[in-house]
Amino acid sequence: MSDFLLTQIINYGAPTLGAIVFIGAMGAPFPGTLIVIAAGAFARQGLLSWYTTGLVALVCVVLGDSLSYAMGHFIREPVLRRFQYAHKWKQAEATFNRWGGMSVFWTRFLITGIAVPVNLIAGTSGFGFRRFLVYDLVGEAIWVFGYGGLGYLFGTQWEMVSELLGNISGLALGLVILAMGVWLGRNWLRAVDARKAKAHEV
């Protein structure tokens, strides 16, 4: 897949990159980070203009993210019909409203594997679109110009950079899953202790 996409970028330039990041932002399993780093390297070789390519990629990825936010927003009604009165749903909504900005920001460039679910949750949980857009724009600018900039800096050695960043992203995802497990485990142990204390009192 990535080989085919790279060939298309060297043939057709920035519009192809824009299309790839746009579709990737809506959930297609494209290797977006690898493509952005490679585009930076192609800019260094003079094949692409870095500012036009960067702007096209940024606009397209933000459009894709907004569209997946909108998908979440439109399934909000049926979700609310089902869970509106559930305590857990309200709790989840409140948690996302509190931490959503940071979730959107970090998943744009570091934990990219869960960016699309975060967009959908943001839309479904009623997280404000303007707030979403601000965090999204800043995070995606880091992704496009930061990662693309590394590709530019390393030129023909861009594959090495891509390998490192891909592994760091996987590591970050693993740490998030582990943190969630530890957090749930702590809550579970507290609940067990509370039950034991209650039983002891009785």
Binding site: T156, L164, G181
Partner: protein, 146 residues
């Protein structure tokens, strides 16, 4: 959520998290070691960068097209097309893998090898730097009396 489910979810998340951290952690460690060994190439002014000639043929990949490789190594695309034995017409946008699949389906990787060999054979000869010549030190000349 029942306590049994919560316990299963907790253990599942911790186990999956540890496995992912170990897997990507190791890979990131080795990738970082490799990364530290190679620093970024020096950044020259834009025009000079675009005229920089690549010489390492091991950087050629089979997703690259012949015009792209020709530009990267500053050789004529015609030279590469002739060496591979295919016409430039209609093949300029095909990757080496696609050319191989279309024209040499029974010889996997042959196009890549031919292109590498041609580039290697057409490398610019290294510039010979002449040895520094000894220049005698300047001796002050006393002014000539009129």
């Amino acid at each position: 959520m029942t306590p049994a489910r919560q316990r299963a979810l907790t253990i599942g998340l911790i186990v999956v998290g540890v496995l992912i951290v170990a897997f990507f952690g190791l890979r990131a460690f080795f990738a970082f070691r490799e990364f530290r060994r190679h620093g970024p190439p020096p950044l020259a002014p834009l025009e000079a960068q675009q005229q920089q000639v690549e010489t390492d043929v091991e950087l050629i990949r089979d997703w690259m097209t012949i015009p792209f490789i020709a530009r990267m190594y500053q050789v004529s695309p015609k030279l590469l097309f002739d060496a591979v034995g295919v016409s430039p017409r209609g093949n300029g946008e095909k990757s080496l893998a696609q050319l191989n699949e279309k024209y040499f389906p029974n010889q996997p990787g042959i196009v890549l090898e031919v292109v590498k060999a041609v580039i290697q054979a057409n490398q610019p000869s290294p510039t010979v730097v002449p040895p520094a010549t000894a220049v005698p030190p300047l001796t002050p000349v006393s002014p000539v009396a009129p």
